[in-house]
Assembly symmetry: C2
Homo-oligomer: 215 residues x 2
């Protein structure tokens, strides 16, 4: 299994989760910043290996072995991100690029020992769930901050957008995972929300509020 093949499986996994039904060629090409013709080539190869279901012009879906492989790569990615933040003092906006490389290291012992060394974490620095050794994901019962009613209070457990600019915005405004957030008021005009974290009151745009997972 090459790094490129692993990256394609991961892409299909993420796209399956954010769409309904089959994943199409152009969507994969966009996601991977490559060309549709390259996607077709790779999709054929992965289909021959039994990792993708593929019929010409009909889009693709992961097979059971394909899903398993994708989850194993995601497990590695998220464990490495956790390692970088917890042990090597990286900030949450610096880890993704390095984890994109580390996720392809082949050694079952390495990743299981790393998991143990980190204390079997359930989520990565962005709040995304970490699959266990068997590929099992813990169900996340979360709701977006933008959808919570006025006066509700809940804990921020994840970010939907993991871009550096969004993470920097949160850092600048001292919003972090684990923070208890109370919804004070919602503006009907622009769907922005007034919130309180500890003693601090903040006014968040809908764009921000709809990228924070709460529990």
């Amino acid at each position: 299994m090459t790094q490129s093949e692993e990256n394609y499986l991961k892409a299909v996994y993420h796209l399956e989760g954010s769409q309904m039904g089959k994943v199409n060629t152009n969507a994969i090409a966009d996601y991977m910043r490559t060309k549709p013709s390259s996607v077709t080539d790779m999709v054929k190869k992965l289909s021959e290996k039994g990792l993708l279901n593929y019929k010409r012009y009909q889009g693709v879906s992961l097979t059971v072995p394909g899903t398993k492989k994708a989850l194993s790569v995601i497990r590695k990615h998220r464990l490495w991100e956790t390692f970088l933040v917890e042990k090597l003092d990286f900030s949450w906006d610096e880890v993704h690029e390095v984890a994109e490389q580390l996720e392809h290291i082949e050694s079952e012992k390495l990743i299981d020992q790393l998991d143990s060394f980190l204390g079997f974490p359930k989520a990565d620095p962005h709040g995304d769930p970490i699959p266990d050794k068997n590929g099992e994901l813990e169900e996340q019962h979360t709701r977006l901050l933008s959808l919570l009613p006025v006066n509700s209070s809940s804990i921020c457990v994840g970010v939907r957008d993991t871009s550096v600019s969004f993470l920097n915005y949160l850092d600048k405004n001292k919003i972090a995972l684990g923070d208890q957030i109370q919804v004070l008021e919602k503006e009907a005009f622009d769907d922005s929300v007034h919130i309180q974290i500890g003693e601090r009151k903040l006014h968040l745009s809908n764009r921000i509020a709809s990228n924070l997972f709460m529990k």
Copy 2:
């Protein structure tokens, strides 16, 4: 810089250290388990990039930038080996293969933070010196156990042969880095040596004794 290019530079570095003068094509091919024709191709490319000195049929040597790059890969290899043993409970015969992969991860911050996390170790699990951030290697003033005089006592600080079978042999006989070893007697016939570690007396063949670095 591709992984393959890095591996060639590392190979030339190691061969320069174990030979005198220019490194020849066949030696590189043997060391890398590849074919001489492949070596010629790569050596041309690295020479065009200014990393190797190369004239047809005359062998190669590392340039200053080539040496610097080789040392940076070796630094990563040895720091990762140390991490695996110190933090993830790998044994010293399991780390090399994984480190061969990890040494190619590109992130200066990653490796410098790892160095710091490990407490700036001076040597890897096999006793090989770890270059610092600037590529400086600490001079090793060691001698082989097989060359020490009778009655001398010194500390085992490294292994010359790092093969799994040799490392297993040492584990089985409870010989480890840091052990104080006294030479009791040398057999003139086969150059084997009788030694003492703590209360234990052992009889080592010349083959074994000439693969242990002492200080």
